[in-house]
């Protein structure tokens, strides 16, 4: 008999940039005990796990992240309390050193690396024109094994919507690769942090499985 699992309290960091309900309802759907959408330090400290989402333009996101001191919330979760943190889309991009978007924006530099534009006039393997934003369901190559990939077939499709992509300096951090004209980091893993460019909350069964895995992930083990 497995021990009864403790209901997981998840804090979704809210810095006022768009739709966080999808993330919250998807987490609730896969069994999170309590999901709080918050930018309150005490609530983050009290949570078992933290999700750092994000949509929108990076300059506005970074301005709000700094104004609401979400960088301090992240630091508390990541390094002080060392609890599992999942960053999604612009949340992932915000962790990097710098983004090319909006004429160049300094980001949190938690993961050294760049956020670059896909560039226009890219072509795919078959010579077809690649549209930007990169929007839709693309395959993610699981470049490294990770508990968050449990039960998800390699090269499963996830839903992406972005015009800028992440390239971490340390290539060993890549957990998932995306090919869209260039190779981009679809997922990065470092200790208790997992960051994804795609939207698991919009990626149907594969995405929900990843969120379920996140609720069960114990990086200390």
């Amino acid at each position: 008999m497995a021990l009864e699992e403790k209901a997981q309290r998840v804090a979704v960091i809210d810095y006022g940039m768009g739709n966080l309900h999808s993330v919250a309802s998807a987490l609730a759907h896969v069994g999170a005990g309590e999901v709080q959408v918050t930018c309150d330090l005490d609530a983050i400290r009290a949570a078992d796990r933290v999700v750092f989402p994000g949509v929108g333009a990076i300059r506005d996101c970074m301005a709000e992240i700094r104004r609401l001191k979400c960088d301090e919330l992240l630091a508390a979760a990541l390094t002080e309390q060392r609890k599992p943190v999942l960053a999604i889309c612009v949340g992932m991009q915000a962790l990097m050193s710098r983004s090319e978007e909006n004429g160049g924006v300094d980001c949190l530099d938690i993961i050294p690396g760049q956020v670059r534009h896909f560039g226009s006039a890219q072509t795919g393997a078959g010579g077809e024109r690649l549209k930007v934003p990169h929007m839709g369901w693309n395959e993610v190559k699981q470049s490294a094994g990770h508990p968050l990939w449990a039960g998800i077939a390699d090269n499963s499709r996830f839903y992406f919507v972005h015009s800028y992509y992440v390239h971490a300096d340390n290539r060993d951090l890549q957990a998932g690769a995306l090919h869209y004209g260039v190779e981009a980091d679809a997922a990065l893993a470092i200790d208790n942090l997992f960051a994804v460019q795609f939207h698991p909350e919009k990626s149907h069964t594969a995405g929900l499985q990843l969120l379920r895995n996140f609720l069960e992930w114990n990086p200390a083990c």
């Binding site: 934003p133 499709r157 972005h162 015009s163 919009k202």
Partner: protein, 257 residues
């Protein structure tokens, strides 16, 4: 392998019920939008588009509530359109759980709305809907113009030039509907689809006229669309989403299975 072409069932919603008219007359009732959205989610639809066709006359509260209910149960992207006029309207729909918002008439009245919305929320969630109708050819070349008010009112705006302008202003995607074909089941108007997909770098969703699975294939192979949208062939059970995907995959189109 690469990015999959998307199949997007569309829910035209009137007073909280999914309907689909033939050229906007003879409306048939197809059911509860939340139930239908959930069915498409389970079938493996790649996205769902929700168009509030009563928006210009009715209160928005029903729509917001329906969008909230869909977003709680459906874990694929949801686009909401119909009656979106301002940055506040967009914020309301995104907060209700929409992932993208489709702007149509408001972009014609105030093109700068597209720029403001894109700067505020990001291009990824701003879809510009274009309702195009074929008009008299110029020098033997076909020409399509934008019509508003369900295809009744001409604007004099060239549809292809408009798509280019919308992309420049910050639209992240174009939802192109042929008003000549919408509801006819005769297939997409491939000429305008090809002209617009060739003219812009952003993804284009083809819409209007799907009556069978070959039409979906043509929208992609001949029209060059990144996604195909259909309503009645799915609503009335003629085809399921998996059938459509299997059919497309057999013809060499990459789809999510």
């Amino acid at each position: 392998m690469g990015l999959a072409k998307r199949i997007i069932p569309c829910l035209d919603v009137d007073n909280g019920r999914v309907v689909k008219g033939v050229n906007f007359v003879g409306i048939r009732d197809a059911g509860d939008p939340v139930e239908i959205a959930r069915r498409y989610n389970e079938q493996g639809a790649d996205e769902i588009t929700f168009l509030d066709i009563t928006a210009s006359h009715e209160g928005r509260d029903t729509t917001v509530h329906t969008v909230e209910q869909i977003a709680e149960q459906v874990f694929i992207p949801l686009t909401v359109g119909g009656g979106i006029r301002s940055v506040d309207d967009i914020r309301t729909m995104l907060n209700a759980g929409a992932d993208k918002v489709s702007i149509n008439t408001a972009a014609i009245v105030d093109p700068e709305l597209v720029r403001r919305a894109s700067e505020r929320f990001g291009a990824q969630c701003i879809v510009v809907a274009i309702d195009a109708k074929r008009v008299a050819d110029v020098d033997g070349a076909p020409r399509w113009e934008i019509f508003t008010h369900g295809g009744r009112k001409p604007t004099g705006i060239d549809a292809v030039a408009w798509a280019v302008k919308m992309a420049q202003l910050g639209a992240g995607e174009i939802l192109l509907t042929s008003m000549d074909r919408d509801g006819t089941k005769n297939g997409f108007e491939l000429g305008v689809t090809r002209a617009i997909t060739d003219a812009v770098d952003i993804p284009v969703i083809a819409s209007g006229g799907v009556g069978n699975l070959d039409h979906l294939v043509e929208g992609i192979t001949q029209g060059g669309a990144d996604a195909v949208l259909a309503a009645s062939i799915f609503h009335f059970g003629e085809y399921t989403v998996p059938q459509a995907k299997a059919y497309m995959a057999e013809r060499g189109i990459e789809v999510r299975r």
